[in-house]
Amino acid sequence: MKKLLSLLKNVHQFFHLLVGHSMGRIGAFLIALVLIAAVFAPYLGTVDPQASGKREDILNAPSTRHWLGTDDLGRDVWSQIIFGSRVSLAIGLITAFVTVVTGTLIGLIAGYYGGLIEEVLVRIVDFFMMLPVLPLMIILAAVLGPNLWNIILVISVVSWPTTARVVRSQVLSIKERPFVEAARCIGAGNVRLMFAEIMPNVLPLMFAQAVLMITYAIYDEAILAFLGLGDPTRISWGSMLHFAFESGVMARSPWWIGPPIAGIIVLIVGFSLLGTAVTDVLTPQYKEAKGL
């Protein structure tokens, strides 16, 4: 109970510092914009984003009926943007969760047990870090077939090694601290030592990694979709750019390509700013400078 309270206090202090960080504030604001679009999509999107229009609806410039105009199939760009935010956010959040959980588990096991287990796991991580990320994702997405869950799987497969690597090096230093030895002396087993003693100390790092992984995943989904490997049943910002690029008329319809580019940049810059702020706030020097 005492442990939980001190954890809560730390979490509170962390968010307090984060709000005080200017990059963190701007980042959170940008993310909030997209989050609102995603949550209230059915109320904000005026029409079904997938519904094709009649011939006179094709490539319309922005008007009161179509706020951001229409694409080459007469679909409403504004609604596509609003609903597309859901794809980016969902993929970012789910992938980050999968990646951070997998990476932490592997990093924890490698760092805690050491020896042969560590040797093998570190080799596997190094091998994955060596592979060219985008070609590997493309090839996997093409082979497995592009749908939302496969895209999440594909991005996770290439992303977990980064988390595993940083968690392992953190675990290596934490496991030498006296409190771990003390817990061992009073009879704590391996699982208890790993998850109850060491992992709480890795939590801040996991959080920083999660923000980083959300950023990467959004970036990766946008690229895959732009290359034509997006989920064909869900319009995302990347796939809007794919259709615009393939149509050959993107230069004549800036209202079609401008919004998805802006959306991608807002979301990715938002998360990178937040990520930088999180990393800053977590360094001991920053807390000292703020007198904590």
Binding site: F127, M129, M130, L131, P132, V133, L134, P135, L136, I138, I139, L140, A142, V143, L144, G145, T215, Y219, A222, I223, F226, L227, G228, L229, L241, F245, M250, A251, P254, I257, I261, I264, I265, I268, V269, S272, L273, T276
Partner: protein
């Protein structure tokens, strides 16, 4: 351990990695859901016997171990199969794309590294000033914008609306340019794709050199050098930057795998006829042998580039030589 031993160990590790890549490449195309022959012949009227014949033809009737041996044998002859789309050997299709990609990547990389290291060193040196904040924010922003999005913006503004640069390709078709004129034409075509790659790479080098420079500038030997009355520029160049560059070299190696993404995006947007654009074409045409071939090319290049960088590191890092004694 001496330098030769160090080099040999790195070379063996590279060979093992390449073998592992070949295995991954083999496995990926066999975890594909569904029967490949059934996918090719969707018509239900095709008889079971005809399907069996097709399986024999492609060698997928054999057990996996036999398939793996056949695949390795094929690879050792440099045979990557036939491209579905171009109906030519994959090796041939890829080989003719390599020079264009190399030209683009090397130009972009050299410019990005030189500029990035210089700007990063200045930012680290003037740490905390307005100039530093500006360089830091600009780098973070540039690093966050996907290359393809940046490319599309550049393409529309500079090629389409302002018509300063061409819309794509590597040279003006049927221009009849020769010699210097031709090089000038290629450079003009290369500017925008190169620029969009540089803007992405450069941010990373600025951030890296900056933090590395800040570490080094806090060391005692810098204070000693300044105390001896050596001019500030020489302290920076000979004492600080030299040591700050070591982590930059290591990270260049690690990042090559990521850097390839920028090449694929820029080549796709600007129709640059290189290996990166080939990835896009292979995806759109669902040309699996070609996709597999390009993946192998990129993966093996990354391993070789890393080996090269490790060897350079062996020469420039005094600690590796000192360890020999």
């Amino acid at each position: 351990m001496n330098l030769t031993g160090f080099a040999a160990r790195k070379a063996i590790a590279a060979v093992i990695t390449i073998f592992a890549i070949l295995c991954v490449n083999f496995i990926i195309f066999r975890i594909a859901p569904g029967d490949p022959v059934r996918m090719m012949f969707k018509d239900p009227r095709v008889s079971a016997k005809a399907l069996e014949l097709q399986r024999q033809k492609f060698g997928i009737d054999k057990p996996l171990s036999g398939q793996f041996l056949a695949y390795m044998k094929q690879l050792s002859r440099g045979d990557l199969g036939i491209s579905f789309w171009q109906k030519r050997p994959v090796t041939e299709v890829i080989a003719e794309r390599i020079p264009a990609t190399l030209a683009l990547v090397l130009t972009a990389l050299v410019i990005a590294v030189v500029l990035g290291v210089a700007l990063g060193a200045i930012a680290g040196w003037r740490n905390g000033t307005k100039l530093d904040t500006f360089l830091l924010t600009a780098s973070l922003t540039m690093y966050s914008i996907p290359t393809f999005a940046l490319g599309i913006i550049l393409l529309l503004v500079f090629a389409y609306f302002l018509s300063i640069f061409p819309l794509g390709g590597i040279a003006t078709p049927a221009s009849g340019f020769e010699g210097f004129e031709y090089i000038k034409d290629v450079a003009w075509h290369m500017f925008l794709p190169c620029f969009s790659i540089i803007l992405w790479y450069i941010g990373e080098y600025v951030l890296l050199t900056r933090s590395s420079m800040m570490d080094v500038l806090g060391q005692d030997y810098i204070a000693t050098a300044r105390g001896k009355g050596i001019k500030e520029f020489r302290v920076l160049k000979n004492h600080a930057l030299r040591n700050a560059l070591l982590p930059v070299v290591t990270l260049t190696g690690i990042n090559i795998g990521f850097a390839i993404a920028g090449v694929i995006e820029a080549e796709t947007v600007f129709s640059w006829p290189g290996a990166g654009r080939l990835v896009y074409d292979a995806v759109v045409k669902r040309d699996y042998p070609l996709l597999q071939g390009v993946f192998l090319l990129f993966a093996v290049s990354v391993v070789l580039a890393n080996l090269f960088i490790d060897l350079i590191y062996g020469f420039i890092d005094p600690r590796i030589k000192v360890g020999a004694k």
